[in-house]
């Protein structure tokens, strides 16, 4: 029963979602929208689980005085402050919630995002060391593309921007489309085997596949 009920639900919902794509009638689209609403409701319930998990994880860390436990205090206090500000004073413009969001969370997010610039540099340095033919090819291609996008590239060779553009629009797009075709087929096959109950690993012990070595 623990195996069959999820399999039947998966099959029915999977077939409905595939069929409704071809049925513009209100019966198909209304059903689709209803399922999306249900998904949002399930998500809202799951959020409760998530918040519970957050409190358990950090509460346990504080209780056991694990390394860096004061950061968990900051996390929980921040959570409570945001919830109180949002529920008591609302979350529209010019509220405390909005202020904290714009002046604390957004700059913190931006800081994390800015780290990307340094990581791109360090990753490029490691990769572009010409230790093999492939790495050398990558290095030369990257140099051409980068030079084609700055004025000095055109100064070095007047057709550098065109070469750079050709690399971006022909070989790059060809490779990208090859990957995307494989992704589409793989995703469709995965969906098919889950809908038909061929793949059961996600059902854990109830339907878990035998493990090969």
């Amino acid at each position: 029963m623990k195996l069959q009920v999820p399999l039947v639900i998966t099959f029915l919902v999977g077939v409905f979602m595939a069929v409704q794509f071809f049925v513009p009638h209100e019966v198909g689209q209304g059903g689709y929208e209803m399922l999306l609403k249900w998904a949002r409701l399930v998500g809202a319930f799951a959020l409760v689980l998530g918040i519970g998990s957050l409190w358990r994880t950090h509460g346990d860390k504080i209780r056991r005085r694990r390394p860096d436990w004061p950061y968990s205090v900051v996390a929980l206090v921040s959570f409570v402050v945001m919830v109180v500000l949002g529920i008591v004073y609302g979350h529209g413009e010019h509220t405390g919630f909005d202020w904290v969001f714009r002046h604390i969370q957004v700059p913190l997010d931006a800081t994390m995002f800015a780290l990307l610039a340094f990581f791109v540099a360090s990753a490029a340095f490691r990769t572009f060391r010409a230790r093999s033919v492939e790495a050398t090819l990558l290095l030369v291609t990257a140099l051409v593309v980068m030079l084609g996008r700055v004025p000095i590239g055109e100064l070095l060779y007047h057709r550098m921007p065109q070469v750079s553009e050709w690399i971006m629009t022909v070989p790059t797009v060809a490779g990208k489309r090859g990957i995307l075709l494989g992704v589409a087929l793989g995703a469709a096959a995965t969906a098919l085997r889950i809908i038909l109950g061929i793949e059961r690993s996600h059902l854990g012990g109830a339907g878990g596949s035998g493990e090969g070595e």
Partner: protein, 440 residues
Amino acid sequence: MIVCGMDRSTVAGGALAPRTHHYARAEGSLRHGQRFRLCTALAALAICASAWAAPPGAPTQVKAVDNPEDDRGTQMIVSWEAPTKRQRPWGTYWAGYQVFYAPVGRERRPGPLAPPESTEVVAACFKPWPWRPYNTQVAVVYLPTPALAVTDASGAIAPSGAHFVFSDTIGPVQPLALWYNAKRTNVLVMMLLYSAIVLITIHYATRRAEDMYIRPIAGLEAVNDAIGRATEMGKPILYISGLSGISDVATIAAMLILGHLARRTARYETQIIVPCQDPLVMAAEREIVRDAYLEAGKPQAFRPEDIYYVTDSQFGYVAAVDGVMMRERPAACFYMGYFYAEALILAETGNAAGAIQIAGTDADTQLPFFITACDYTLMGEELYAASAYLSRQPLLVAQLRGQDLGKILIAAVLLVGTAITTLATFWPEVAQRFLDWFNV
């Protein structure tokens, strides 16, 4: 297309003309003062008669037709002709129109509002199921003060004191809905063809699946090495299943891989840490790992607190996971699923933490970053093949053959398409028809 319309009675101005002519003939026999009084009285009578005979400012020529652009069958285009200004009730201002509709045999309900200058509105409040036709009316909304009619939170017309003048009821009319979108026939054909290929392959190839050759995938070959490394070092494994929700196939593929991985880590009682960005994914992954440990006969080794929710904020999540990497120093990091800009930040931090890193994603924009920063990367479809590769189940392995046949089919279509496009110089119409068939 269903069309239904009806004219409202018009002012009988023509009937008054002969009588006017009759009084004109008597003009010569009356004195000037009498003539003036008589004309004034006649004019007042004519105005009163005209006001009495005219409709009370209602829209005329009301029509309701199916909206051809709406395949759902929930919309109708309601059109009308505006009443003339002199038909406005005394002391009121013209504030707009409102469509009313009612399923046959039911009470009418208010529909959309339209401004005074409009003569047409798309009414989107109909339901084609269970196929009940509708009667429709258009009312002019007059307000005691000059303002535009709007509906308030309760659905009533604001400001208050609105006076409605209804047109005749037209109908019954029913919007048309389509049961099949013919424009998507190409998708249906390809979907059925590919599904048939996969299913037939599974049916015929399952018995020979054990002898079937699967191209070695370095990233998946390295999974055992990564687990062995973590076990020997006594350090945890960090598993991240992307930043998209549970409805994404990439996330489901990542969850399938986690199941296989957890079965192996359970045997060696190696700790596996799974920080989640989506609470639904967390709940599902916790169950998957729990069942994997049960299946491996090591339920006591399962630590539910190691699969936890962090936050749904993208960079908040990255900051937390980076912190885990630098504090716990995992021996191996797995990044499976769909990733966005955080891919490189995670992979570079994992590299700095000295972990062996295996990534797998179908996000083509993030693949270069993973290839650069990770030891092994599963590219695109390899992410979806991983479950079959790791389990070696005959059914799943046979399905890989079906996937390959699908690729051959697509390659054949690409070759034919290339040839036809090349020959388009000679037969542009044929080429265009072929290309049109693939448009969605």
